[in-house]
């Protein structure tokens, strides 16, 4: 199988952006009942009494949507080999029912693997914005990708 993007295709400074993905109240409650059943994620009435003033999405659902947008943006067409992790995850603003999210992904740094000539890593910053252009979440993550041409 050949891919559109290999490690060599990620260059520091490159920016990729998606269109909008929206989130309904039902989707927020369904996710939260399974993974994050805090009252301000599952109970509209209790959420109104909370500091958030209404129902908000679990930060993990926002992270999941960020991942989905990364997949649609380039990951599914890339020679991805997974990820060891992410740093500096920040939930900056609540995500509410009806919000439409979009992603801006910026390549920060690329490194050839010291131990594997067929692989390299890419550090990128993901920023998720709502329909008002407000930053709701950001994080910096590392992805491992196969090289088009192994190092010699």
């Amino acid at each position: 199988m050949s891919y559109k993007y290999y490690w060599e295709d990620f260059v520091p400074g490159q920016v990729r952006e998606t269109g909008g993905h929206s989130l309904t109240e039902d989707e927020i409650v369904e996710f939260a009942k399974k993974y994050d059943p805090q009252p301000f994620h599952i109970d509209r009435e209790k959420a109104k009494q909370s500091a958030f003033g209404g129902l908000i999405a679990s930060g993990w659902q926002t992270a999941g949507m960020c991942m989905r947008m990364l997949c649609d943006l380039y990951l599914l067409e890339s020679a991805s080999m997974g990820s060891p992790g992410v740093d500096e995850v920040r939930w900056v603003k609540p995500v509410r029912p009806g919000d439409t999210l979009r992603l801006k992904s910026t390549v920060l740094e690329t490194r050839a693997s010291a131990s594997r000539p067929d692989m390299g890593t890419v550090r990128s910053r993901s920023e998720v914005y709502n329909q008002h252009g407000e930053l709701v979440m950001h994080m910096s993550g590392v992805g491992m990708f196969r090289r088009r041409t192994p190092a010699t």
Partner: protein, 160 residues
């Protein structure tokens, strides 16, 4: 639910253990189709041909299960007021269908809010283990909690 733990109860070194939760193949596929449709998360056949040697859960689903374990273990009985974020998140080992996960939460640091007298922040180390006692995920991050007793005002401190 009654609040059992306030900010004051999270003292450095304190450990919270949780019950377990199992993850089925169906759970893994359902999450991945929606949030992380990479082949090694959505297609058991194709996953065999990858370096993972079989279907594995999306790392974000492991985060979700970790969050759920946190809720089951202590969070729903606390005065939690949300989280500003995580410093570090590591996926250390793949999670596979049938794995049973549990969480250990360790309080690393506790800081009163500089601005709001009625709350404080707690820095945790969260480690998620599988049934073979291997750490599959670790994270360091913060949660905010209301205080049982608000901090004295600067004026009150001066008078005391």
């Amino acid at each position: 639910m009654a609040i059992k733990y306030y900010w004051e109860d999270f003292t450095p070194g304190r450990v919270f253990d949780t019950p377990t939760r199992a993850l089925s193949e169906e759970d893994i596929l359902r999450f991945a189709r929606e949030y992380d449709p990479q082949t090694f998360h959505t297609d058991a056949e194709a996953a065999r041909g990858t370096p993972f040697g079989g279907l594995i859960a999306s790392g974000w689903q492991t985060c979700g299960v970790t969050m759920r374990l946190m809720c089951d273990g202590y969070l729903l009985e606390t005065s939690c007021a949300g989280s500003p974020g995580l410093e570090e998140l590591r996926w250390l080992k793949p999670v596979r269908p049938g794995d049973t996960l549990r969480l250990k939460a360790t309080v690393l640091e506790s800081t009163p809010s500089a601005k709001q007298r009625n709350r404080g922040t707690v820095l945790f180390l969260w480690e998620t283990f599988n049934q073979n006692a291997e750490v599959v995920l670790s994270m360091r991050g913060r949660q905010m909690f209301l205080r049982r007793t608000p901090a004295p005002t600067a004026q009150a401190t001066l008078e005391a």
